[in-house]
Amino acid sequence: MKKTDTMQGSLDLLVLKVLSRQPKLHGYAIMTAIKHISGDVLNAEVGSLYPALHRMEETGWIRAEWAAKDSGRRTRLYQLTAAGKKQLDAEITRWRTVSSAIDRVLQEA
């Protein structure tokens, strides 16, 4: 497993959080959800979203299944796994620690 830097780490966090609220979303829905909830501040690029999804799927944090759409096309729907829930908790704790630490540093200055 590659080392997760903050940027990538936060994308994982956002994706996991979105999926924890609402299971069975496809990639585009996850992307728009992040955008809407953050009030258009955060934007997950396609170029990083899909590799992240596939990577997390590979790690076992999320699960994917194919679903037929009205148009006849198939789409891939993602949802959290038990391991993913645990990972979400861990990511949240980590994020809180890091952000509060950064806050402290900013207040000092």
Binding site: H26, G27, A29, G47, P51, E57, S71, T75
Partner: protein, 885 residues
């Protein structure tokens, strides 16, 4: 999504690509449906190909995908160069196969544990004792009384098991006229329980079978024998077998895996040790002592304890050695008991072939190295020709490690194919070598299963080989400088340095192989041209015994009967034939009633006419007549005269044969004959006294003889063709006589050098292979270097260089290399000769001719290999060459 799914995806890459594309398409559709600008949406995907690769990497075992691609590519590369590939695979498979065969033999003989419980704690006892000349000898024979004392002393610390030396014996399940051979071994009753072996049928011996001598006439047959002889017939229980004049009842069949304690011999019939006629004798050493040491018991104190018991036993016994010289008794009592590991059993075959197998191992490893060097050179040359391809790969972004992998995979495939072929070769070769080990009438049986150890060895060997010849070319390929390579101008000389180093190594190894082959060949030649002192041709030997003994007159009547057979010129009788292993008779000699000598005299009983039949000329005196007997008369050889009569004329003088018990048997010398070999071709000529076959006991009564050998000199016909006639004739004319073995004297002579012949044969074979490989290697490298320098040579010829200087230019470097290699080889050979000396006979490793011949052969091969390249260089036409540029 697991490791497994990633692996399966590696082989279904198209489907994965398709799925990823489908997901992206769905995304784009959604985005457009949500009211986004289609072009804009598509643009967010950027290079879809790149994205796909990234996603693909996440879901696929990337290394495996590369490996698959490399395998396919490597396979195509190998197919493209069919001849090189075939040459490489052939030479490697021969070498790997030879290595595997050698390993299989070594494994079967020395490594594989016996299929018994506690094999890891199994040992055997040996005795190291200085002989009369102070030279340390080791043997492992014990008498039963000594064994019993040691066993009692070791109680609680170790279990001692007695097992006789397996002997090929005459036995019958019916009448005495239907004799057959079987390997018989007398074993302790508690051997089967101690080894925790279970019968396949009936019961095995127990400790109860080892209480009273002669009380339990039972036999257990081995599973192997049960299958071979009785086709697994359960009705075997209760049948009786006659062995050595006794009847045994078969009570059980041993377990399938157990074939006895001697690797190389499969025991057919186990008998209780108490049934051996020698079991009560303390002066006959006929059994091995196996020791299962209890867990946690330290070896050295146990050894010291057994040593003390044994020494005490022998010291007591030595008090009765009045017929042995004081010096010899002293030397004998310096004996020391050793505990040697015997996890894989213990046998004579191990002893005889330990060093020989090690050296065969060395030879095959050298041949393997030579083959590896050859392939490495081939690969290096190929890597050079693939420089442009590699450079291209580097410039479009291939990682160095990827290139190493690419080349290594290709080489590993080569190695793998070679290993597969080699395994086939070994499957045939190992049993073939085993079949050459023993005399044909008593073949060695080594169980050679396809064991996991052999498999592991093969795999490791293959990997090592692939790395050995593949790593250097792989690293070279990866370290390529694209700029230089694509320009086409690389400096050829730096590239070749490693090739020349390899060639030098190859020449050195080849020299060592040739040198060793020369030594083994010369040893065999010396041994087989050793003067025998008698004529072995057209001499048939009938080993005969009479269970109840027959008087000498009866024996000579039988000789007369045989003499009447057409084609038989002369017949004589002897106790046993000359050069028959295991038969000897010795005693101290006393001249003029003096003290017994330190040196043994050796004896053989012969009938009148034996000297003539053997074509041994009397130098002085007369042959025996029918009234001579032992004690009484003797004919001695020249060494006997030198040793005991200081070379003085012994005619009419007397000597005494002194037995350890002190009994003296007086003999008057009535004839002198030239030296002849006695029991072994390897030993120096022994002082031998021939005494009459007619022997009398202390009271002067003539002893009936229960065994002897008829010697028949035939005229012109193959002696063995008479065998069936003679068997019938003997059975018909006197049923008291049983023919045991019928063989020729020539067989016995040949059997003396069986190991040397095998070594010489294998060494010669490997030397030929090594020379061939080295020559091919030289040829390849030279040819390659000429190809590379064609332009330069063309220019030189154009400006007027002569053929001679071109030849020098092409060959100087390689000849220097060969020279360096040969010098290194000589050094290696000289260093190794010390260790090989025990296998040699009549050859000094330091003999200059032993060095010169291989060196000349090597030089000739090098010149021969260089010829095509020189011709090629000389034929270069500058006008064509330069126009092509």
């Amino acid at each position: 999504m697991s490791f497994w799914s990633r692996i399966t995806y590696a082989f279904r890459g198209d489907r994965l690509n398709h799925e990823i594309d489908e997901e992206f398409a769905a995304h784009i559709e959604e985005a457009i449906a949500a009211g986004n600008d289609p072009t804009e949406v598509r643009r967010t995907f950027g290079s879809q190909l790149h994205l796909r690769e990234q996603s693909r990497d996440a879901r696929i075992a990337a290394w495996l995908d590369c490996l698959r691609a490399d395998l396919v590519f490597g396979w195509r590369q190998l197919l493209k160069r069919k001849i090189t590939t075939a040459a490489a695979v052939l030479s490697l498979s021969l070498a790997i196969g030879a290595c595997t065969s050698a390993f299989r033999l070594i494994d079967a003989l020395f490594l594989r544990p016996l299929p018994v419980a506690h094999a890891d704690r199994l040992n055997f006892l040996a005795i190291r004792v200085p002989d009369g000349n102070g030279v340390l000898r080791t043997f492992d024979q014990f008498s039963y009384p000594e064994f019993a004392r040691m066993r009692a002393a070791a109680q609680g610390q170790a279990e001692l098991i007695a097992a006789s030396f397996t002997s090929r014996s005459d036995l019958t399940y019916a009448t005495d006229n239907e004799m057959e051979k079987g390997n018989v071994q007398y074993v302790s009753g508690w051997m089967f329980p101690a080894f925790e072996l279970q019968p396949a049928l009936g019961r095995l011996f127990t400790a109860d079978d080892e209480r009273t001598p002669g009380a339990g006439p039972y036999a257990v047959v081995s599973y192997n024998y049960w299958t071979r002889r009785f086709a697994n017939d359960p009705g075997i229980l209760g049948r009786s077998v006659h062995i050595g004049g006794k009847m045994f009842q078969i009570i059980g069949v041993g377990p399938k895996s157990f074939t006895g304690t001697e690797p190389g011999t499969i025991t057919d019939i186990f008998l209780p040790i108490m049934m051996n006629p020698n079991v009560t004798r303390d002066d006959t050493r006929w059994l091995r002592t196996l020791v299962i040491v209890n867990p946690g018991v330290p070896i050295e104190p146990l050894r010291a304890k057994l040593d003390a018991v044994s020494l005490h036993f022998e010291t007591e016994r030595a008090k009765g050695f009045v017929g042995m010289s004081q010096h010899n008794i002293e030397m004998f009592l310096r004996m020391k008991i050793l505990i040697e590991p015997a996890a894989s059993g213990v046998s004579r075959l191990q002893n005889d072939y330990r060093r020989a197998l090690v050296w065969i191992g060395v030879l095959v490893i050298l041949v393997l190295l030579i083959a590896c060097v050859n392939v490495a050179n081939l690969m290096t040359a190929q890597a050079a020709s693939r420089a442009r391809e590699m450079a291209l790969r580097v410039s479009i972004g291939a990682g160095r490690s990827r290139l190493v992998q690419l080349v290594l995979v290709e080489n590993a495939m080569l190695a793998f194919f070679s290993a597969a072929l080699g395994a086939l070769f070994a499957w045939w070769a190992a049993p073939f070598v085993v079949s050459r080990i023993n005399p044909p009438d008593n073949p060695a049986h080594l169980v050679l299963p396809a064991h996991w150890r052999v498999l592991v060895f093969d795999t490791l060997l293959t990997l090592a080989v692939a790395l050995f010849f593949g790593l250097a070319p792989a690293l070279r390929a990866s370290s390529i400088q694209p700029v230089a390579a694509l320009k086409g101008g690389e400096e050829p000389h730096s590239k070749q340095r490693s090739i020349y180093a390899l060639i030098a190594a190859q020449v050195a190894f080849c020299f060592v192989v040739l040198f060793l082959a020369g030594l083994f060949g010369a040893t065999f030649r010396h041994l087989s041209s050793q003067p025998l002192g008698f004529d072995a041709k057209n001499l048939l030997l009938l080993e005969t015994y009479t269970p109840h003994g027959q008087l000498p007159e009866s024996w000579s009547q039988m000789a007369d009967t045989l003499r009447a057979v057409p084609g038989v010129n002369a017949v004589a009788i002897a106790g046993w034939p000359l050069l028959s292993p295991g038969n000897s008779w010795n005693g101290s000699i006393s001249i003029n009633a003096g003290p017994p000598t330190d040196t043994w005299g050796w004896f053989l009983s012969i009938s009148p006419g034996w000297l003539g039949t053997m074509k041994i000329q009397l130098l002085e005196g007369r042959d025996f007549n029918s009234t001579d007997s032992f004690p009484g008369e003797a004919i001695v050889n020249q060494t006997f005269v030198k040793t005991f009569f200081n070379g003085a004329d012994p005619m009419g003088h007397t000597f005494e044969k002194v037995n350890p018990s002190g009994r003296r048997q007086l003999c008057r010398v009535i004839g002198v004959v030239p030296d002849a070999t006695y029991s072994s071709l390897h030993d120096p000529i022994l002082p031998v006294a021939y005494v009459p076959f007619r022997q009398s006991d202390e009271n002067g009564a003539i002893n009936p003889a229960d065994g002897g050998t008829f010697l028949l000199r035939t005229s012109g016909i193959n002696p063995l063709s008479l065998a069936p006639t003679l068997r019938r004739l003997v059975a018909k004319s006197n049923p008291a006589y049983r023919l045991s073995n019928v063989k020729t004297q020539q067989e016995l002579v040949d059997n003396q050098s069986i190991r040397e012949r095998l070594l010489a044969l294998l060494a010669l074979f490997f030397a030929t292979v090594a020379l061939l490989l080295a020559a091919i290697g030289l040829y390849g490298v030279l040819n390659y270097s000429v190809l590379q320098r064609e332009r330069e040579i063309g220019i030189r010829i154009a400006v007027g260089a002569r053929i001679g200087s071109i030849a020098r230019l092409v060959t100087t470097q390689i000849l220097v290399t060969v020279f360096i290699g040969a010098v290194a080889g000589i050094a290696l050979g000289m260093a190794s000769v010390r260790y090989v000396q025990t296998l040699l006979f009549g050859v000094k490793g330091t003999d200059p001719s032993m060095l010169v011949v291989p060196a000349l052969v090597l030089l000739a091969a090098a010149l021969f290999a260089a010829l095509p390249a020189v011709l090629r260089a000389a034929r270069i036409d500058p006008s064509i060459m330069l126009r092509a540029e």
